[in-house]
């Protein structure tokens, strides 16, 4: 399987995702934001970081960069796009995913290990995980507080677009286990066709138990499984 990792000025998890992809036998190809051509790949990854310094609004300037029109074309061919952290913010800003990501409710950057529950495992990103399984994966963001209006939240629910919810170690989704104030603990969603996935947690930081956990592997294994089929 091949993946294009888009590098924006200010991306800082591009190297991390590259290393993680290699670990799971997915071949990364780094693509500069100013490029107008996307190599032939199954998957595009928008990595974490501070594209354009988070100026104006997180992800907003990156969503207008040259390569993004190619990424949008790529999604229309029903191919995969994964946006992690700042990548999720870019997906929301570019309209590929609904809703917004606001500042964390405590107005502080939060970097720690948290737990997420897999709500929908019938997607290319979660197929190798059991439904309701709890994963320990770190977050590191200032703006991960997901919000969407009632009408569209209902749509998200009906279409099973909510993929990950923050929970505690035992899988309980409640206020205490919500790190950033996200609406109904939303940590990751897809589009209606399940080929565009945005999430705040960093699976690429959890690929090795030496780093404090390896639960990120479930997402990479799911992708690999999709690539094989």
């Amino acid at each position: 399987m091949k993946a294009a990792v888009i590098v924006f000025p200010g991306s800082n998890c591009d190297r991390d995702i590259k290393i993680a992809l290699k670990r799971f036998n997915i071949k990364p190809i780094m693509v500069w934001h100013n490029d107008t051509f996307l190599p032939k790949v199954d998957l595009v990854i928008l990595p974490g970081g501070f594209s354009y310094g988070d100026y104006l609004r997180c992800g907003s300037i990156a969503s207008k960069s040259k390569i993004m029109s190619e990424v949008i074309k790529h999604t229309k061919k029903n191919k995969l796009v994964l946006g992690i952290c700042n990548g999720f913010q870019i997906l929301v800003e570019s309209g590929l995913l609904p809703g917004v990501l606001m500042r964390n409710h405590n107005l502080k950057f939060i970097c720690k290990n948290i737990y997420v529950k897999v709500i929908n495992n019938k997607t290319p990103f979660t197929s190798k995980i059991k439904k309701n399984e709890v994963l320990k994966i770190p977050i590191a963001h200032n703006e991960g507080n997901y919000f969407i209006d009632k009408k569209n939240l209902k749509k998200l629910k009906t279409n099973n677009q909510i993929i990950l919810q923050y929970c505690n170690e035992k899988g309980l989704v409640n206020k205490e286990s919500n790190p950033n104030g996200s609406l109904i603990n939303i940590a990751g969603i897809t589009n209606t066709t399940f080929n565009v996935f945005g999430l705040m947690p960093h699976p690429e930081r959890a690929y090795d138990s030496l780093l404090g956990g390896d639960n990120g592997k479930y997402i990479f294994n799911s992708l690999l499984n999709y690539g094989r089929n």
Binding site: P9, G10, N12, C13, R15, D16, I19, A20, G48, G49, F50, Y52, G53, D54, Y55, K108, F109, I110, C111, K112, P138, A140, N142, H202, E204, R205, Y207, D208, L210, L211, G212
Partner: protein, 730 residues
Amino acid sequence: MEETNLDIAVKHGIKKEEFKKIIKIMGRKPNLVELGIFSAMWNEHCSYKSSRVWLKTLPTKNKNVIQGPGENAGVVDFGNGDAVIFKIESHNHPSFIEPYQGAATGVGGILRDVFTMGARPVANLNSIRFGSPKHPKTKYLLNGVVSGIGGYGNCIGVPTVGGETEFDDCYNGNILVNAMNVGIAKKNKIFYSVASGIGNPVVYVGSKTGRDGIHGATMASTAFDLDSHEKKPTVQVGDPFTEKLLLEACLELMKSKCIISIQDMGAAGLTSSSIEMASKGNLGIRINLNKVPCREQNMSAYEIMLSESQERMLIILKKGKENFAKKIFDKWGLDFSIIGELTYTKKLEIEYNNEIVGSIPIHALGKNAPKYKRPWISHKLPKKKDLKKILKKIKIKDVLLKLLSHHNFSNKSWVWEQYDHMVMTDTVQAPGGNSAVVRYHKKNKGIAATIDCTPKYCFAHPYTGSMQAVCETWRNLISVGAQPIAITNCLNFGNPERKEIMGQLVDSIRGIKDACKFLNYPVVSGNVSLYNETNGQSIYPTPTIGGIGLLKNLKSMITFNFKEVDNHIMIVGDTKGHLHQSALLYDILEYKDGPPPEINLKKERKNGLCVQQLIQKNLLKSVHDISHGGIIISLAEMCMSGSMGCKIELNNIYLNKINYLFGEDQGRYILEFNNKNKLKIINILKKNGIKFEIIGKTQKSNFEVQEVLKIPITKLTKINNNWFKKFTLN
């Protein structure tokens, strides 16, 4: 050209005798631009004029040192052609005036010092000290500094992996923000700041020059008074996004062979960077200020030369490589401008609007800047006091609970969870342990890093306290399984023109020297911050030490959380029950007299090397050094981080329980090990003549000291986690 006189010179922080010296060097009165340059170069921050004669006495060499003090950062050998580059720097004065930007640019500055040398920065650490939590500014300063450190480090994508955060009344008027950075490079790909090759182009890259931070270094070289907030415009504003681009562009350029030398524009901006490079190369430099990219219109020569705008670098390129280099900076969207060339004149010559606006002999500014051997008095070791009365009413359990909820002993996750400590995915020991450990990228070895100082010890006796700071870093590195390699130091003191303060500095440097020499643990870089006082009230002497250690094999890395029930718990080292300056006396009972714990360098080394041996032989389950709060606090920390209890028996102990549990004697460790290794461990300790005692075992869920206390770990953790959340919410 504007004329100058003594009045203007004094306003620039230049003393009468120094002004005379300038006139002598120049053979005439300097103009305003030149005076500004002298002021920027001769202030304490840039010239080290009070400390230089003493700093020279520090040990700076051994077989591991590739580059000692005098460059942008120190470089040590990490084996297999790898090098580690690191340095610490203060940003105290600006952080007090504007905490967010002051702290942020402190991080930015130290990052540049490290990547200027060709290293990719891999870890940030910091030591931050605030006034009393009761002081009205403390909460604002704490919030601002922590957000500023996070704001910069998180954005540039270098993990902040360790540090210390403490409060004490002595910092009410002068907080400390010391930032350290560690980077990695190939040994044969290190870049230096020595200029060479007459006619080679001088290139300016990075952000544009604005009017911010003019005379920042001069501001950092004076004491504060009530009007210090008026100095806000001298604080620089940071842009971590530009720094990230500058970092990537510089590292990309460094892959080629275009660079002769490179230097960041830090304190005193374009002035100090151009002078330092030319001075080290024994050359002259000619700059045309019309070529400097400016953010604002109509900036004067004075402003351009003295601006401390951030995220700028000066590069001496090989002639003919200009276009190649420019392409890289264009790609990253950064300014690239050839602003001058190297000359044979040994002068700094500044041209602006077709006029020479300044011409100063280079060596007057660098090598031959004034240096003072200021008068000083050494500080005697205070006598021990009779503590019987004070300790009479002490209840061990109450003190333990008070300490765990005390601002200086509570869990600091509120601080470090605001720092991205995981980005780059090499952090294998996160903040909160003995030392941070970062995997050497793509290898199975690690860099251990720690930052320590105990200012109350240093105030009680600067010589002993400073030895202690060095030893504590050494111990913290040993405790994760590393071999301590070298240190960087940040000497924060008051006004050196006062004899007793100068005495603190001299005693402190002596202490660092003796400890480093004995432990073969050289000083490879550092920084001095003086005049940390407000209205005549000085901070405690605070020689912050950053230590670096090598973990040859990550498999032998060890942590301090208890691992399994029913393992033995052993104390290694001599416990004499020293309570003066301890957490119990100083922080709980607010009794501040008496000497700090004694440092015995022989035992320090012997105990440490033996623990290192036990770790390498894979005989231990966990190791923790014993520091502030004594055995009882170290045990509690091992319990809380392992979510596991312990049962301690003190019936056969030779000391009274309070002294035993709260004493802060140095050179000690707590070990956890399985019964099967007990004999082997005891044999090794005995063979090395090391004192030890087994005091109990690990158990489930309760922290227990027989006949003294029994507390569930969940309760300890809850108490320990509360303080920051409560303090910052109210």
